[in-house]
């Protein structure tokens, strides 16, 4: 059996209520309560009058963040997006600048948080906004 790589996607953003449970799930996966280790961000659309959305890595096939990483901490991931080797990261934030949609986040310790498409947050998205989908590698 061939395992297809998977990627985190949004199914229907109109149903996003801005609860941020995905954000908290992401840090919790690493044993933390809070948002510091989260590679996903829940935002309102210029105020909650217009609803809410989530910002996370959209799994570029040719990621600019990898191109500007001087240490190889960010590497291309099979199926799109990146893998993050934290111990190699020197906290230069080049990647933060390079990402057009602002999906790489600065942690308090100077390193970064980025979605690696593990799908842990999907289990805690109460309104079915997020899903993990198979993609062609």
């Amino acid at each position: 059996m061939i395992h297809m790589p998977k990627r985190l996607v949004t199914v229907d953003l109109e149903k996003c209520v801005g609860c941020g449970l995905c954000v908290l799930a992401c840090s919790r996966k690493f044993g933390y309560a809070g948002n510091d280790y989260s590679g996903i961000l829940s935002v309102s659309l210029s105020g909650f009058e217009r609803g809410a959305t989530v910002i996370f890595c959209r799994g570029c096939e040719d990621p600019p963040c990898v191109q500007v990483c001087p240490t190889g901490a960010l590497r291309k991931r099979k199926g799109g997006g990146v893998l993050y080797k934290e111990e190699l990261c020197i906290g230069c934030k080049n990647c933060v600048q390079a990402c057009t949609i602002g999906a790489i986040f600065e942690r308090r310790d100077g390193k970064i948080a980025v979605c690696i498409h593990c799908g842990y947050c999907v289990n805690f998205c109460p309104h079915g906004v997020l899903a993990l989908k198979e993609v062609k590698a």
Partner: protein, 572 residues
């Protein structure tokens, strides 16, 4: 735990590490403690000496549904202890910024807004925006100027706070409010237009595996059990119809408890015709915030429309709907939008205008005072009157901006001035427990002890003493919830056993008995602070004995006996 103290008089701040306070203390319990340390009980609420505490809890942001923030201050409306809770993103931002509480002291010489960004505090000039009445506009300006999108809260006042209306609120994330008891006026008196908190942070839990298990259990309980079902779908306005049916819906200044237009302004009707979207407070899967879309045409300009998004809940539908005899959804939404933009508390505003309408009808006041003709159901004139509450063009509106207790002292009509402990009445007239609950509740809120819910269960009333003990017991448990800053709507999820269980992975052992003691102690301390601030036995408005409720007409003697018993057993 870390406490941030901001001094507006000196434009300074300090971060205190408080090793002397147990790590599991938060919310209401912590706020009472900090108030005790920081405030002289006899200060003028609108003076530089008043203090504001914002406190979050030990479960923020570890568990869902624990995202309320408790604000404590001296209330300019009652002259006594003020406590107000709000959802939104405030608690999450404060906790992620690294604080269990933020204390605000002093008074700025000139208008400012304050930005807290984790360990730093910035004082920003607010002179340019001070005169903007619309709270939504102020929020948008600050949102565009400051960073922290997605990880911040913007707590701000509208024009009512600037003009020191004693029941002005502080609004957060557009649709959630520190509504009651006038925190907005306290902000205004301190020349503080807004408090922005930007928080990025996290803490490592003690037992990761157990933490994830308990988290999952709470999450499933919230979503899959019936514990919160009623908030999922129609939201709090689901109450309109049943309350009307059981004769508990205060209507036209409580001259009636059934409203002939109740179906028109019911939660079901709003959901069917107006609901535009639902949103959630941070870390809440329920999303009970219901936002209506209202399209208002311009009368003389075809093809021009104003489209506004208005958050509606049961309480504003009661206070600006049935209480004012307004039976159209459009009318209710426009009135809610007006209090939202000005930053007025919806309940107090509605009750004040309902009293004024009756006083007008009886000739106690006339158009000299009210400028516009006040009549039940007249939306346009109520909109204008709200504008006057903000502008305060004459003595009458200056007095009405101080609340219904004060207004009825000056103009009469005390018997139908519906305030309890100085706080305008919430939306229930269900029986003895409702009103005794308002009178003895430490915030004079229906949520203190949920007497209104008890009335809906009771068939035969016990002696008043027993009822009081029951209400106090409920209020003590709710001190635990509001110290954990758990949303009261999630009280069915956070039973003592779950609370105790949730503490363990965070590293704290608290038995159910200890939790209950914690609640009782918080209740006692809060009451003691109220007494030191000059708490007097509250007045009982005559009107509640004149209008039929679920249990028929209420007898004064029962309520007086209850109040006397509470006063002698708990207060003295």
């Amino acid at each position: 735990m870390r406490i941030l103290k901001i001094n507006l008089s000196e434009y300074s701040y300090e971060i205190e590490e408080r090793d002397d306070i147990e790590e599991w203390i938060g919310g209401a319990a912590l706020a009472v403690k900090l108030m005790r340390e920081e405030i002289k009980p006899n200060v003028d609420p609108l003076s530089e000496e008043n203090v504001v505490v914002f406190a979050v809890g030990p479960f923020t942001p570890a568990y869902p549904l624990a995202s309320k923030t408790v604000a404590m201050f001296k209330s300019p409306l009652t002259g006594n202890l003020g406590e107000s809770h709000a959802g939104g993103r405030t608690a999450m931002a404060i906790a992620n910024a690294g604080y269990r509480a933020i204390v605000i002291k002093g008074k700025s010489h000139k208008p400012v807004y304050v930005v807290v960004e984790n360990d730093r505090v910035y004082f920003r000039d607010a002179r340019v925006i001070w005169g903007i009445a619309d709270s939504l506009v102020v929020a948008r300006i600050i949102a565009e100027k400051e960073k922290g999108r997605g990880i911040r809260t913007i707590m701000r006042i509208g024009g009512a706070g600037v003009k020191l209306v004693r029941y002005a609120c502080v609004t957060t994330e557009t649709y959630r409010h520190f509504g009651r008891l006038g925190l907005g006026a306290v902000f205004g008196s301190k020349n503080l237009r807004a408090l922005v908190v930007i928080g990025r942070g996290a803490f490592k839990v003690k037992d990761v595996k157990a933490y994830k298990e308990v988290y999952r259990e709470i999450y499933d309980l919230a979503l899959k059990s019936d514990a919160m079902k009623k908030y999922h779908l129609i939201g709090t306005p689901v109450n309109v119809k049943p309350l009307n049916t059981i004769k508990a819906l205060p209507t036209r200044n409580l001259t009636s408890t059934t409203f002939e237009k109740a179906d028109e302004i019911s939660g079901e009707a709003f959901a069917e015709y107006n609901l535009g979207r639902r949103i959630a407070c941070a870390h809440c899967p329920i999303a009970c915030i219901h936002v209506a879309t209202l399209r208002i045409p311009y009368e003389n300009e075809p093809y021009f429309y104003r489209t506004i998004m208005v958050s509606y809940d049961y309480e504003p539908i009661y206070s600006l709907g049935s209480m004012l005899g307004v039976g159209s959804r459009e009318g209710v939404l426009r009135l809610i939008h007006k209090v939202e933009t000005l930053g007025l508390d919806a309940m107090s505003t509605g009750v004040c205008l309902a009293w004024a309408t009756e006083a007008f009808k009886r000739g106690l006041i006339g158009e000299n005072e009210t400028i516009v003709k006040l009549e039940f159901g007249n939306v346009e004139n109520y909109l204008q009157a709200m504008e006057y509450l903000y502008q305060q063009p004459n003595d009458f509106y200056r007095v009405l901006a101080q609340g219904v207790e004060r207004a009825s002292e000056v103009y009469g009509g005390r018997e139908f001035a519906l305030a309890f402990g100085g706080n305008e009445m919430p939306g229930y007239h269900a029986g003895y427990a409702t009103h005794i609950g308002y009178l003895i509740g430490l915030r004079h809120s229906h949520l203190d002890n949920a007497g209104y819910a008890l009335d809906q269960k009771i068939k035969d009333y016990p002696p008043p003493e027993e009822l009081v003990d029951q209400l106090v017991k409920e209020e003590c448990w709710r001190q635990v919830l509001s110290s954990l800053v758990v949303c009261f709507f999630a009280r069915g999820v956070y039973k003592p056993e779950i609370v105790s269980k949730a503490f363990k992975p965070l590293g704290y052992e608290l038995s159910e008995e200890e939790l209950i003691r914690y609640g009782e102690e918080t209740y006692r301390e809060k009451l003691r602070l109220k007494v030191d601030m000059g708490f007097k036995k509250p007045r009982i408005p005559d009107r509640i004995f004149e209008t039929e409720c679920t249990h028929g007409k209420l007898e004064r003697e029962y309520v007086e006996r209850a109040l006397d018993y509470w006063w002698s057993k708990y207060v003295r």
